[in-house]
Every structure is written in structure tokens, then in C-alpha cells.
Amino acid sequence: MKVFLFALLIVTPMALTVQTSASEKTTVVGLIEDVRVDPGGLIFSAKMDTGADHSSVNAQSIHRFRRRGVRWVRFDLVNADGTTASLERRLVRLVTIKRSEGKKSKRPVVRLTICMGTISREVEVNLVDRSRFNYKMLIGRSFMEDNVLVDPSRKFTIEPQCPQQPTE
């Protein structure tokens, strides 16, 4: 077992893509990568956060409403350049956040499509106010599961290269 692990340590890190089995390929990304969010097509410089279950994105002017009995959210995605995309998405769920001093707030979760390199996935994303943070988006494990490894010593190693989504 130790010999196998040793051999794996030698072989695995030598390339940016790694064969884990006959049909699977893994991609190594850096700590920060430019990703595209659809709908809207906004580009975010996002931090890979292996400590987070799901991704989070900077959203402003968040309004929840009902349409024919179904819960929706209207919000503006805003990236670091200040570019904005106004979107309406179905509400997946609300997460209750307990703050200090006993205050509670509700954070909406919606589904968005994220493109990183050639990987495009629709995943759950928390809508949060990240206006005071350097990086307006965090990528959580639910996007990265299956074949994405994070090398935190690198940054901006890939550009979004997924086929363009048709605009809604």
C-alpha cells in the first residue's frame, strides 16, 4: 500500500490533467479563477473554497416574491468591475443565518450555471453581499466535486471556455 501511495505521489502531480481511471480526467485549478455565470454571462474572479458546501456570489437588490404560488427571487449580480446582471430565478431554499447579538437573516439559494475552463455545471449558489470582499464569488465543493483539484499556490490558470448558453 505504501509503495502504491509513493508511486501515486510521484506520478499524480506531474501534469495539469491527471488520469484517475480509464475514462476520467481531473483538472487542477488555482486558488483564484475567472468563471462565467449564466444566465447573464458575467465574469467573476472566484476563489476556490474547499471549506464551503456550496458556492456564493455577490448579489444586491434582492427581492423575494411569489408567482402563481411558486417562490422566486429577483436580484442583481455585481462583479468586481461593477458590471451588473439583473436576474429572476426560482428560490431553491432559504438558509437562516444566525448573527451575533441574536439577529437572524435569511439567505436565498438559487441555481445558476457556472463555467470554469471547459467545465459547465448548474449548481446551487448562495446570494450574499460580498461587496466588501476582494473576490465577489466563492466556488464551493458542489461545483468542484468530480475531478476538480485545487492548487492554492496558483492563480488564474484557465479561462472560461464553455459553449455559450442561449440567452433566456
Partner: protein, 155 residues
């Protein structure tokens, strides 16, 4: 101060082929106490943090040491003493600041051990008592966010 801490880490130079791949949760061990802890490997965290209780400051030969207790995976409580190398000021959401003492601890994943700057904090309400941040990973560790427990702690 930062240069002194970096020198103390004793890593040496590294080539790209020497990177270790770990999962997002691992069993880590602290040397020389051989304390086994569940650790979350968090690329979103700059620093490495440990859940420390009953913190006492001790002065010996003009140097400052910190004595604290950590609960291990096996339900044992271990007393640890390390020299203090600094203090970290962390802004809280309330607007106040929390001060966390810094020590150097030898943390091992499998049989790969690294001297790491660790801050002492209260993680009692969190799932994992040890948070391994980028201060451990530096340029030698890659994280696989879909893997857990990829290596057993080396006793």
C-alpha cells in the same frame, strides 16, 4: 517576524512534482504528542486554526509559552505547550476585534509532516477541531474537494 516564521517552517525548496494530494477532510496528527484530530482542509482559509481550551501563558527564560488543551478524536484530552510566535487580530462581524495567539505546530497528514503557524481559537461549535488553511498547504499541497480520509495518520 514573518521572515523568522518562514525560516522556522523548514520546508526547503520544492519542485512541481513534489505536491501531495489530500481530501477536504483528513485525520491529522500533531507531533510529538501523537494527538489525532479530524481536520478540514480549507483552501478558503489563509491560516490554520486549532480548537484550544484553557489557554495559559507561561514565561520561561524571557520567552513566552502557551499551554492549552485539545480534545483528540479518541475522546482524550491532551495538554500541549508551545512557544508563542505572534498574535493575530481578527475583525468580527460585530465590529470588535478578536486576538488569537500564534504558535508553530508540527502537523502530519499520513507520514507527511510540516511545521505550520497555527492560531489558537474556539472551534467548539464547529464540526472539525482543526482547520488546515493555506499556511499549511503553501505550494506543496493540492486539495481534492470530492475526497475524504485519503490517508491514515502515521503513529
Amino acid at each position: 517576524m514573518c521572515a523568522a516564521i518562514a525560516a522556522a517552517l523548514l520546508w526547503g525548496s520544492q519542485s512541481a512534482a513534489d505536491k501531495m494530494v489530500v481530501g477536504w477532510v483528513e485525520e491529522a496528527s500533531i507531533k510529538p504528542e501523537n494527538l489525532i484530530l479530524q481536520a478540514k482542509v480549507d483552501t478558503g482559509a489563509g491560516n490554520t486554526s486549532i480548537d484550544a481550551r484553557n489557554i495559559d501563558f507561561v514565561k520561561r527564560d524571557g520567552r513566552r509559552f502557551i499551554r492549552f488543551e485539545v480534545d483528540g478524536r479518541d475522546g482524550n484530552t491532551v495538554e500541549i505547550e508551545r512557544e508563542q510566535v505572534g498574535i493575530e487580530t481578527v475583525p468580527q462581524l460585530s465590529g470588535e476585534y478578536q486576538e488569537r495567539p500564534l504558535v508553530i505546530m508540527e502537523i502530519c497528514l499520513g507520514n507527511e509532516c510540516r511545521n505550520t503557524v497555527v492560531n489558537l481559537t474556539d472551534r467548539s461549535r464547529l464540526r472539525y477541531p482543526l482547520l488546515i488553511g493555506r499556511s499549511f498547504m503553501l505550494d506543496r499541497v493540492i486539495c481534492n474537494p470530492s475526497a475524504r480520509y485519503t490517508r491514515k495518520p502515521d503513529r
